[in-house]
Structure formats: C-alpha cells, structure tokens
C-alpha cells in the first residue's frame, strides 16, 4: 500500500506538469508524422504493398505504437538515482523502512501510466491479441509484463554506475539513440537484411520492436515464447548485475554528496 502511494504521486507529477506533457506529446507526434510520411513515400515509390510483412496502414500503427513505447520505457530512474547519490540524499532513502528498488518501480509505473493506458487501450481495441484464444492472450500479457519488468531492471542496473560517475547526463542521448536504432523506433528491425536478424532479441528491441509487432498480431505463439525467454534471460542478467554491483556501490558511497 505504501508503494501504491508512490505510484499515485508519480502519476500526479506527470499530470501536474501539463505543459511539459503536452509539449512532449507534440514533439513525439511531429517525429512520428515525419517518419510516417517518409515510409508512405517509400511504399509508394517501391511499388510494394508489403515491406517485411508489414502493410502501409500497419506501418502507420507500428510507428505510432513504438513511439508510445519509447515514452513508456524511459531512462528516468537513472537520473533520479544519480541525483540521490550526488546529493547524498540516498542515505535518507536507505534509512526508510522501504525497499528502494520496489519504490522506484512503482514510481516508474506511475510516471508512465498515461502512456501505458494508451498502449493498453490500443491493445484492447485495435489489436487482435485477445481474440486469438486464451493461451495466446495470456502469453501476450505475460510477455508484456515480463518485458516491462526486464527493462526496468536493466535501467536500474545501468543506474548503479552513478556510484562511480559524477555526471550521467551523457547516458540520456546514448539511450535515446539505442532505442531509436536498436529498439525499432526509427524503422522496424525486420526490414534489415537477414544477417541482422539476431538484433531482434536485444533488450531495446524486445521493449519497442517486439511489443509493437505483438500489438499488430505479427508474432506467433512460438515467437512470443522466444521473446519471453529472451526477456527473462536479460532480466536475470540485470538482476545478477544488481546483486553484484549494489554492495560494491554502497561501499564506495560516501553519503555526503558533492
């Protein structure tokens, strides 16, 4: 229950800065429009009605959904944690009768809730995911939750570098670039030559590319299982890093801030 309050606060924080939220959405909308028009021109001039199994109208939905996912899978916990370490306020958090990581998860959930609702509504109304039988629906839901948890763990594991780095701002453009290129935000990874097929199972692609294809109903049950397996694998890796690095980080943490 105490964590639920964190989630509510995070949601209120997102909604309180309406100007920022609207501008963020506007910028995303402009970027999506640019990419949509470019892809429609590619379909038009290539004379193809299908690129890597994706039709033009599906490409429009793909680009919108993958950009909503880019908003859901933010890297914000890194910068929040870095702020706590740099200011020395992590000490206060550690003394509270809470688990910082669980609190951070609920905070992450609260901040992304408006976008999660959009993704959820799109899955419920546009997507065929829940009309393909109980097993497929449950598998899809599980994959979504697993991927969400995996990405949060991965971002949290990355955030631990704040114990040793004074400035972590360079990670912001790097992670944006990775999501753009490896997450399928710039283009679906399926359009790349077969030699790059292995890229599909990187954590960014699982979060962006694969969850969007799932919504479009492009993943078979086997592919869902495979993506789920990879997500679980990455989650275990991130957890392993957390387990190893956290105690070392805490030892090097001075607790006075800079």
């Amino acid at each position: 229950m105490k964590y639920w309050l964190t989630c509510q606060n995070a949601l209120m924080a997102t909604l309180a800065y309406r100007g920022n939220l609207v501008l963020n959405l506007l910028t995303t909308a402009v970027n999506v429009m640019v990419t949509i028009f470019m892809w429609l021109a590619v379909y038009n001039f290539s004379g193809r009605s299908d690129i890597a199994g994706i039709q033009p109208n599906q490409m429009v939905i793909y680009l919108i959904v993958v950009n909503v996912l880019a908003l859901i899978f933010s890297a914000e916990p890194i910068f929040k944690f870095s702020g706590l370490v740099r200011s020395g306020n992590l000490s206060v958090v550690l003394m509270r009768p809470i688990n910082y990581f669980i609190q951070s998860f609920w905070d992450y959930l609260g901040r992304g809730l408006p976008f999660l609702v959009i993704y959820g509504l799109a899955t419920g109304f546009i997507s065929p995911v829940f009309r393909r039988g109980l097993l497929y629906g449950l598998g899809s839901l599980l994959l979504m939750m697993l991927t969400y948890g995996m990405f949060f763990l991965m971002i949290t594991a990355i955030s631990l570098c704040s114990f040793w780095l004074v400035q972590v701002w360079p990670l912001r453009p790097v992670l944006s670039a990775l999501f753009l290129l490896l997450g399928g935000q710039a283009f679906p990874l399926q359009v790349l030559p077969p030699a790059f097929a292995w890229l599909i199972y990187n954590p960014f692609s699982l979060a962006g590319n694969q969850l969007t294809l799932l919504l479009l109903g492009k993943l078979s049950l086997n592919q869902i299982l495979l993506a789920g397996g990879w997500a679980l694998g990455w989650a275990v890796v991130a957890l392993g890093i957390l387990k190893i690095v956290w105690p070392r980080g805490i030892r090097s943490y001075e607790g006075v801030g800079s």
Partner: protein, 255 residues
C-alpha cells in the same frame, strides 16, 4: 566590433577547454545522431532507388545540408541564446546595456559553442564530398552557399524570437526547443508531405524551403524559392530586432 567578438570567442574557447570531456561527448553525440540519420536513409533507399525524384545521394545531400545549417547555428549562437534566457529572467542585462555596444548583437554573439564546431567541420567535409559527386555548376555552388547562410539566419531569427519572449513570459523554456523540432522535421524532401503542409512550410514558415532549397542547388536544380526564403529571413530578423527593443522596455533589473 570585431575586436569584441574576438574576445568573446577567446573566452568561449577557454571555457570549452575547461570542460574537455563534455566537449568530446557532445561532439560524439552529434556524430551518433547523424549516423542514425544516414542508416535510416539507407534503409529507405534499400527499397526504392528514388523518392519523388531524390536518389540516395540527393537525400544525403539534403540531410547533411540540414545538419550543416543546424550545427552552424549551434556553433555561432546557441550558447548565447541559452545564456540570454537566464540573463533576461534573472534581470542581469544591466552590464551589457551599459556598454557602448549594440546589445542585440552583443547577446546574440556572446558565446560560441566549440563542441559544435567539431561536428560542423565533420559535416562540412562530408557535404564537400557529396557536392564533389553531384558536380554543381560554380553558380549553383555559390547559390548553395548563399542558401546555407540564409538558412543559418532563418534558424537564428526563429530562436531569437522565441528567446526574447522571455521578456514577457517566464516558464516558456520548454517552447525554446520548438525551432529545433521544426528544423528536424524539415530535414526531409518537401514532397513527402501532404500539399497543405508543404505550402505552409514552404511559404508561410519556410522551414522546408530552408533545407530543400540549398539541397536543390547542390544537385543543379536552381529555384526562385531562395529569394523568398531570403526575404522571409530578413523580415524575421527585423521582427526579432523590434521585439528585442520592445522587450528592453519591459525589462526589470534585479540588480
């Protein structure tokens, strides 16, 4: 005036050398996003040899020219503009207003951003290679350079107008990113957009013309739109100057 500018540039260089890692990282990220643009362009053109008459090399020319304009603006003016918003909101303009210089130009050229110079030079070299393959005639090449300079003026004027709004409204900082978003969206062939959007951004706020016109000169397709972009840029510069003078009347010092 030149002497003052030289001092300001020297100060900027000294600051840059203090934050060397930041300089290297900023330059690297510039290159990274340019590389993503190139890869994405490569993906588009792997399915079709031309899009609205633009082949891959023309497309490269377009996005590189757009980047060139953007980095040149960043190198020459962005640091000054970032500083100016704070100076206006904090009420710290007094010292520059007392100086026997034109305050508009003093603040516009207050700092140059050296990290952007690295990406600017790199983009310039790549654009040079692209132009050498496109073989523009000497006249078209000259007009290409003119169009790029007009483009820098246009981006400067848009940003200056946004920044000067701080005299009237605070908390508008989020809006300051709008010109950048507009120019990013304009780094595509104009014809991919529906007719209404094309007309709006070719003629009313000619951001699409600013990127497309020099690229067209680059591949020997001269266009009269250059005159229009030059005219609009001139008008925007005048508007930004008048806005600055009106803004100074609203200015409240905090000293």
């Amino acid at each position: 005036m030149l002497k003052i500018y030289r001092v300001l540039v020297t100060q900027s260089l000294a600051e840059t050398m203090t934050y060397r890692v930041t300089t290297v990282l900023t330059a690297l990220f510039g290159v990274l996003f340019y590389a993503i643009d190139l890869i994405t362009g490569g993906v588009y053109f792997s399915f079709t040899p031309t899009i609205y008459g633009w082949n891959f090399l023309d497309y490269l020319n377009l996005i590189t020219t757009a980047n060139l304009i953007s980095y040149a603006y960043q190198f020459l003016f962005v640091a000054g503009h970032e500083d100016l918003v704070d100076q206006i909101l904090d009420g710290n303009l007094d010292y520059s207003l007392l100086r026997p210089v034109n305050s508009y130009w003093f603040h516009a050229s207050y700092r140059v951003d050296f990290p952007s110079l690295v990406t600017l030079l790199l983009t310039g070299v790549i654009e040079g290679v692209i132009l050498s393959k496109l073989h523009p005639t000497p006249l078209n090449l000259l007009l290409y350079v003119v169009a790029v300079i007009v483009g820098i003026g246009f981006v400067f004027a848009l940003n200056q107008i946004m920044v000067t709004l701080a005299f009237w409204v605070d908390g508008l900082s989020a809006l300051n990113g709008l010109p950048e978003d507009l120019m990013d969206a304009s780094a595509r062939p104009a014809k991919i957009y529906p007719r209404v959007i094309q007309q709006l951004f070719l003629w009313v706020i000619p951001s699409l013309a600013i990127t497309n016109v020099p690229a067209q000169f680059g591949h020997n397709q001269p266009t009269w739109l250059l005159l229009w972009t030059a005219l609009v840029t001139g008008v925007l510069l005048v508007i930004s100057y008048i806005e600055w003078q009106r803004g100074l009347l609203k200015y409240v010092s905090a000293n």
